[in-house]
């Protein structure tokens, strides 16, 4: 993908996310001026950048949205829920198109039609606001729509027009003359005709489609459009254009309205300082400054000039664009790159120079929002953050992993030097060197992990929108409170989290939160509060989803589980309230009477538990009937390093994830109870089932006959189980690699890790092993 497009895609995603956030903020607090300004700016910037690419449908809906937000901003109208719905839909559609752009570099074929419908819906939803807005900007109400349309056309006129108009009163005719493409072949000279316009006050021309390079230009195809302001009457003008009436539109505009409309639209005179433009221009300067081989020089100049010209045109700086093009031509002719360089530098300086003026000017409609982003110090051109492909970070992480493994072989070497070759001194030196390398490797690992750390806000930021839409759909009133979005965790952990959180929040809104009427009857506030909170707790992140809804009813849950055949009668009677509440995590459990499209397919909560456990986390739950429920997820900060305990089984080494292990005990053979074909043992007066790892792994070696059995007490799937092995090994940190290729289908293994002495350690997935 071309780099400009790639950067547009990234920028667009950020802007869309910000816009959605501001839109929701605005719905909550309608008079939040900062939010509407930010919203307008995001959409405006996005629209501006989209103009660089061939994505007219995208630009069109953004343009429509920009108009709407501008109208809302100027009139301080509160957004209705319907307006927000449509606006969010527009942002969603834009997001989808951005995705399509990233994949295929073009918009889908349906985009043009979809864009028209959406723009129309948008205008309809904001209808009352928008027409009112135009009226407010125009001097007299009956010419209001014309003045609105004129603003766009007026953008192409020279700044001097303002001075002309300030001396005039009465009304003007705004003429747009778009000659036929093939008019030259009919012997017409549109320029001659345009120059004949009586009472002309201003004349401007624009290109209908962007100008081609001289090589590709067809000089006999008319690509011109003329805009003129005239003091002459309608009749006189119509008489002049009597042969080409279909190519001309004539609008009446009072001079006062024109004066009002020009500053808002006169882009060439007061350019909208789009930060991207500045960045792109700076980049062209850098390109020109970089040393280039003779053969590439002309190509580079042309590339720099083209980019600068297109960027400027897209941003409405037509004059500046033309001067860059001119400078390029001169530079080529004279073989002096300095000419082109200084032209771009001048334009850039002008852009920057406009900024203080913009900031100082009394607030004009549509102006203050644009001034703000540009008001940052203009010398700040190099961004302080990098966007890096995740693959590169993963590659670094892998290398760090290998370094750690390689480093771990040094102690083996030291021991060998000492024991096998009798070199004590050398052994000690190797050991010393090892500790130095060990320290550096640890720090390196720490830094790479820190790079992968992302704030929880990345996941949380998607929820305000989701909760709003859901609550509206369900007719409930919910306020989402987010806490601790700054809490950081590894990118993989953050990414694993979204789906479980989504399920839980959906469940929460669907099942836990009562409808407003019910809440009032219960004496609760009408609006329910759902809280998403994250915090760091030593080497774990803790995420809580707290609601003040119905709470879980243990009796109801038990009955439901019984009806579904998940538990039998005895179990139902013996179950504690806490155990009953945990039933919602059982597979195939759903309490919703009707299956809605929100939740209630009976997959939600067990999926949550599986996903969290797969990421090495735990789920806990507490609930009080009628008061609410809290679900707590504990997740490791990073999934890159796994702590395992090694165990030996008939001379073979296996790894068991440390977080499953509760304790290690040695059970005398005589204390092992046999219940039919199963074995068990007593641990502090509790019967714990004993499974032999050898038989789980279907090993055929004979059981070692010993006095006692080494037993690893583990907790898997909420049960305590004893695992019989041959001997305990040591605990270690490993970089776990999932089984790949043909081995990927092999169940029972979480992955492999390389040991310091070069052996491969198979790490077991006990949950899967025990389930089978």
């Amino acid at each position: 993908m071309n780099e400009l497009l790639a950067s547009f895609v990234t920028e667009a995603r950020d802007l869309l996310a910000e816009a959605a956030e501001d839109l929701l903020a605005l719905e909550r607090t309608p008079d939040d001026e900062a939010a509407i300004n930010r919203l307008f700016r995001s959409v405006h910037t996005l629209k501006g950048s989209s103009g660089l690419f061939d994505v007219a449908p995208l630009t069109r809906i953004l343009h429509a949205a920009e108009d709407m937000f501008q109208a809302v901003r100027e009139q301080g109208v509160a957004l209705s829920a319907e307006m927000v719905d449509v606006a969010l839909r527009t942002l969603d559609q834009t997001g989808l198109w951005i995705d399509a752009l990233e994949r295929n570099q073009t918009l889908p074929d349906t985009a043009a039609a979809a864009s028209q419908t959406l723009a129309a819906t948008l205008r309809a939803a904001f209808g009352s606001v928008a027409t009112g807005g135009a009226a407010a900007t125009a001097a007299s109400p009956d010419t209001a729509p014309e003045a609105g349309a004129a603003a766009e056309l007026l953008a192409c006129f020279d700044a001097t027009l303002r001075r002309v108009l300030s001396r005039e009163s009465g009304s003007f005719r705004l003429i747009t003359y778009e000659p036929d493409e093939a008019c030259f072949f009919k012997g017409e000279d549109p320029l001659h005709l345009a120059l004949q316009i009586p009472g002309m006050a201003a004349l401007a021309s624009t290109a209908r489609s962007p100008w081609q390079t001289p090589d590709a230009l067809d000089p006999f195809m008319c690509n011109l459009r003329f805009h003129a302001l005239s003091r002459a009457g309608h009749d006189t003008l119509e008489a002049l254009f009597r042969y080409v009436p279909e190519q001309v539109t004539i609008l009446d505009i009072p001079a006062a309205a024109l004066l009002h409309a020009i500053p808002a639209g006169a882009a060439p005179a007061t350019p909208a300082a789009n930060p991207l433009t500045g960045e792109l221009l700076s980049a062209q300067l850098a390109l020109l400054d970089a040393p280039a081989p003779e053969a590439e020089r002309a190509g580079r100049w042309a590339a720099a000039a083209d980019v600068a010209r297109h960027v400027l045109q897209a941003d409405g700086h037509n004059a500046a664009a033309a001067s860059v093009a001119a400078a390029h031509a001169e530079a080529e002719a004279a073989c002096l790159p300095g000419r082109l360089r200084s032209a771009i530098a001048d334009v850039l300086a002008n852009l920057a120079a406009v900024v203080p003026a913009l900031a100082a000017a009394p607030a004009m409609p549509g102006r203050d929002a644009q001034a703000r982003p540009a008001a940052e110090p203009p010398e700040r051109t190099a961004p302080r953050t990098l966007r890096i492909d995740q693959e590169k970070i993963d590659q670094m992480m892998n290398l760090v992993g290998e370094l750690i493994v390689a480093k771990n072989s040094l102690p083996f070497l030291a021991r060998r030097a000492e024991q096998q070759f009798g070199q004590r001194e050398l052994g000690r030196e190797i050991q010393d060197q090892y500790s130095v390398i060990d320290r550096i490797a640890q720090e390196l690992q720490g830094s790479v992990m820190a790079v992968r750390m992302m704030p929880m806000g990345q996941v949380f930021q998607r929820f305000p929108r989701l909760v709003r839409d859901l609550a509206r759909k369900l007719g409930k009133q919910v306020e989402l409170v987010i806490e601790g979005e700054q809490t950081e965790a590894d990118k993989n952990v953050i990414e694993t989290l979204f789906d479980p959180l989504l399920h839980m929040v959906r469940n929460c809104l669907d099942h836990a939160v009562e409808p407003p009427a019910e809440r009032i009857a219960l004496g609760k506030p009408e609006t329910a509060i759902v809280k998403l909170a994250a915090r760091q707790d030593s080497d774990q992140v803790v995420i809580e989803i707290i609601d003040d809804g119905r709470g879980l009813d243990p009796e109801k849950l038990k009955r439901k589980a019984y009806e579904r055949g998940l538990i039998d009668e005895d179990r139902m009677a013996a179950m504690s309230d806490h155990e009953a509440r945990m039933l919602i995590f059982a597979a195939g459990f759903s309490t919703a009477a009707t299956i809605s499209d929100v939740s209630g397919r009976g997959v939600g909560m067990d999926v949550v538990r599986n996903a969290v456990e797969k990421a090495g986390g735990r789920v806990a739950l507490s609930s009080e009937l009628g008061r609410g429920t809290t679900v707590r997820l504990n997740l490791p900060l990073s999934m890159a390093v796994t702590r395992v305990m090694t165990v030996t089984l008939h001379e073979r080494l296996f790894g068991i994830p440390m977080d499953l292990i509760r304790e290690t005990v040695r059970v005398p053979a005589a204390d092992i109870l046999r219940i039919k074909s199963s074995e068990a043992f007593l641990l502090r007066d509790r019967v714990v089932p004993l499974l032999r790892l050898a038989s789980l792994l279907e090993m055929t070696e004979p059981e070692a006959a010993g006095d006692d059995v080494a037993v690893l007490v583990v907790r898997v799937g909420g049960q305590t189980i004893g695992l019989g092995i041959t001997a305990f090994g040591e605990g270690m940190e490993v970089i776990l690699k999932p089984l790949a290729g043909m081995l990927a289908a092999l169940g029972g293994y979480a992955g492999t890790a390389l040991l310091g002495d070069g052996r491969v350690l198979l790490v077991l997935d006990l949950k899967e092993l025990i389930a089978t």
């Binding site: 290109a207 001289p214 230009l217 002719a333």
Partner: protein, 85 residues
């Protein structure tokens, strides 16, 4: 001829008809650096297109006051004055 090449520049004189557009474009491609239109009394729209799109720098002020008044502000740089109505 209303158009001719003079060293680095293109000279426009009198009324420049549509045919001059092609010639001007050719000169521009062949490396002409500027257009001197001080002798020009009228310019066909096709020629204007070439001036607008090629970004050729302009020298002098056209002989016709109509062109000087309306076209100079429309075209890029090197123009000696900005007009006002």
């Amino acid at each position: 001829m209303s158009i001719r090449r003079d060293g680095d520049g293109i000279l426009l004189e009198g009324v420049c008809p549509i045919e001059d557009a092609e010639a001007m474009l050719r000169h521009a491609q062949e490396g002409a650096g500027f257009v001197d239109w001080s002798g020009c009394t009228h310019l066909h729209a096709a020629c204007l297109q070439v001036l607008l799109s090629s970004g050729l720098a302009l020298r002098g002020t056209p002989a016709s006051p109509l062109l000087a008044q309306w076209l100079v502000p429309m075209l890029p740089v090197a123009s000696t004055q900005l007009s006002e109505a």
